[in-house]
Each structure stands twice: as C-alpha cells, then as structure tokens.
C-alpha cells in the first residue's frame, strides 16, 4: 500500500502530503514516543494523538512515512512545517486510535 492509497480509500483529512508514492508496510499505534522509538518499524504509519513536532522527530528517526492524528486533535503550525520539511505525510481524523488501527489492519490483512 502507498500513501496515495490512504488518501483515496479513507476519509482522513489530508494535512500534509508530499510523499504520495511512498510505500507503507504496516502501522504502529501508540501515544508514548519512547515506545514508538523502541518498537515501531521503518515504513509503518504512526497512529497517535500526539499532535506536536516531537512526533515528527520520532517518525523521521525511525523512518515512518506517515502519521495519522486521531480524535481531531488540533495540529499546530510548527508540526505542519516540520512534516513538510521531513516529507512525512500528516493525516487527521475524528476516529480514535482503535478505529483507525482496525481500518488499516483490515486493509493490510486483505492481501
């Protein structure tokens, strides 16, 4: 699956997308950034409510191509700028982490 598939198949709000052709290998759901650091894998989407710049830093270090912000948490301007700079896709949705994880999990299991 690619970032553009996320754009097409789900009704997530697209905050920043500059890397539509990047491939996604799965997802990791967590609000603890140290946990993400320790356990997420390169290529996975980060599903979280941590809408701030530090999530971009973690995603950059791990090599996660996209972040989905749940519960319509407000996304600050400096986070958007950081996402653009690091070429990380940023989505937002009113769904919670459980729902988003479920949707993506099904999508990945289909293949």
């Amino acid at each position: 699956m690619k970032i553009k598939d996320i754009m097409e198949r789900f009704d997530f709000e697209q905050v920043v997308v500059t890397n539509a052709d990047r491939t996604i290998t799965g997802g990791y759901t967590s609000d603890l950034l140290s946990d993400v650091m320790a356990n997420a894998q390169e290529g996975q989407v980060l599903i979280t409510i941590q809408a701030h710049k530090n999530s971009i830093a973690v995603a950059t270090l791990i090599g996660m191509p996209a972040i989905i912000i749940c519960n319509t948490r407000p996304v600050p301007e400096d986070m958007i700028e950081a996402a653009e700079k690091e070429s990380i896709a940023l989505f937002r949705t009113q769904k919670n982490q459980f729902e988003v994880s479920g949707i993506l999990y099904q999508e990945f299991m289909r293949k």
């Binding site: 320790a38 830093a57 791990i62």
Partner: protein, 307 residues
C-alpha cells in the same frame, strides 16, 4: 504582546524561556479577594494596592478572577454592592508553577488575558503572572545568560578529528525543556551515519540511543550537550549535562520508573522507557552521575557495508 513575540524570535533569548520556570517569574503571594466579599470591597482593594485584577478564593481554592472591567460592569448596573461571585470571571486560564516560561508566553499570545493565576501541584494558588512580569524577568536574565554562554563557548574543546579511524565528530547543545528542537541532534547523527554507509540496524540503534539520551537531557537536566564520535569501529555517543544528577541510577534504569511530571507525560514522554531503551540498543553503556552533572557513554559497533 508583540514585544514578547519579537523577544522570543531573538535567538539566545529562546533558551531562557525554557530554562526559566513560571515560578521564577511570577509574583508570589498575590493579593486575593474572598468569594463572599462585595464588588465594592474588590474595587477598594484594587485602588489601595494599585492593581487591576484580583484572584477570587473560596476558602483557599481559586474559583475566579475579578478585573477592573467587572467593577465597571457592576457600577454600570448600579450593583456595586453585589457579591464578587455575580460579576467575577469563572473561566480562569491558569498556569502551573513548574511549567517553563515558554508556556506562559504561549498563553499570553493565545488567550489575550492580562493576568494568569499560577497554581502549584496541589491546585492551590501560588502566584500570578502578567506580560510585564515576563518581559522584566527576561531582561534581568539576559545579562547573566550571555555571560554564561560566552564562557561555555570558550570551554567547548572538540576531540581530535584527525586521530586514527575517526570519520567525524559532532556536538550539539541541549536546553532544558526545549522540546521545539528535540531530536535535532539525533537527526543530524542519523544523516551523518547514512552518509558514511553504516548498516540500517546500526543507524536505527544509534538513533534510538541518541534520541532517548537527548530527550533525557531536555526533560531532566539543566542542559548540556550531545557529542558523537563516528569511527570505523562504530559510533560513540556521549551525553553530558550540567546537573542536577540522577539520584538512583539503578532505579532510573528500571523500565517504567520516571520522575517526569504530568505535563511532560501529556506530550508522550516520561514513561520510564528512555534509559532502558538506550541501554538495550547499545553495545557498551555506562552512566556516571553526581549533583554536578551526568555523563552517559554509549557505543554501538559498526557493521559497515562499505567504507
């Protein structure tokens, strides 16, 4: 408010707003008024003390704030003898005394109120802060800070880059509570390791170690620096800070143990995973800590693809 925003954009002052706490800047033991007082009593107190707002207390709990504007409203309605309760603002935006000053500045810009009551950990009123307090404190702190920065710049002695096998040495300062720049040092390290063609697993492990140690300095220390020495053998990561030191290193290394406070936890840190993660991802790991500072040394062996 523009004055503050401009000051914040002025480089070195940025560091100050993370180092200073709300409690360093606020006015302690501010004048207050009881919820059972009248608006006339509030007006009298403001005139006598030359102030324009009063936190309203019920017993010792903060329940609202009454301003000159509220006094005028009461006069206007011919109700100056009405209880404070009727005219006070109840939706009070408060700050916590251990927050960095940067939060206070953000609040001033975001809410446009003149004054923000400060509460302590137990929810009691411990002070009040205004935009004027912030500007004054920044001006006072600037002088001593510039002197300190100059001294620090002189003391930065970088290791010998020409020594055998060393590819590159990097050094980055960290500043307490500067979450804005958290990860900058680690991202630079990652990019440099990529440039030299280190294996992905090595890059990943070095990134984890570096990020956790960098974050620890930002969350727990009085600031310091991250130093990387990249050689054919691997990556040496030194995290050195200026204190206050780790009280119990064994406890700090235990997964789930953390001394971070609530607002740090609310942004996804302080879960007690940092040091254990860093140690797990290192081939060599040691901590040396006293009240004067902590030095963490980690080494990750290289598996170079080609060099």
């Amino acid at each position: 408010m523009d004055v503050i925003q401009q000051a914040v954009n002025a480089g070195p002052i940025l560091e100050l707003i993370y180092q200073l706490k709300v409690s360093d800047v606020m006015t302690r033991n501010p004048e207050t008024i009881s919820i059972h007082a009248t608006m006339r009593e509030a007006q009298k107190k403001m005139r006598e003390r030359g102030i324009t707002g009063l936190p309203v207390l019920d017993d010792s709990r903060l329940v609202g704030i009454v301003s000159i504007g509220d006094i005028i409203d009461a006069f206007d309605a011919g109700e100056i003898d009405a209880p404070v309760k009727t005219y006070m603002t109840t939706s009070v935006v408060t700050l916590e005394d251990d927050m960095p000053l940067s939060y206070a500045i953000t609040y001033v810009n975001k809410y446009q109120y003149r004054r923000y009551p400060v509460i302590n950990k137990t929810g009691m009123l411990s002070g009040i802060i205004t935009a004027t307090d912030i500007i004054k404190a920044l001006l006072v702190a600037m002088n001593s800070e510039f002197t300190k920065l100059e001294a620090l710049a002189k003391n930065d002695n970088k290791p010998n880059v020409n020594e055998n096998g060393i590819l590159e040495s990097l050094q980055f300062p960290t500043v307490k509570y500067d979450f804005e720049h958290a990860g900058t040092a680690s991202t630079e390290l990652k990019n440099t390791l990529k440039k030299y063609g280190f294996a992905n697993t090595v890059i990943r492990r070095a990134s984890i170690v570096s990020y956790e140690l960098e974050l620890n300095q930002i969350i727990h220390s009085d600031g310091g620096y991250m130093q990387y020495t990249i050689s054919n053998k691997g990556v040496e990561i030194l995290a050195r800070d200026r204190g206050p030191g780790i009280q119990d290193i064994q406890l700090a290394l235990r997964e789930g143990f953390s001394t971070a406070n609530d607002w740090i936890r609310s942004i996804g840190f302080g879960a007690g995973l940092g040091l254990p993660n860093a140690r797990k991802s290192s081939d060599e790991f040691s901590i040396d800590s006293s009240t004067r500072g902590t030095l963490v040394r980690a080494f990750i062996f290289a598996q170079l693809r080609e060099l």
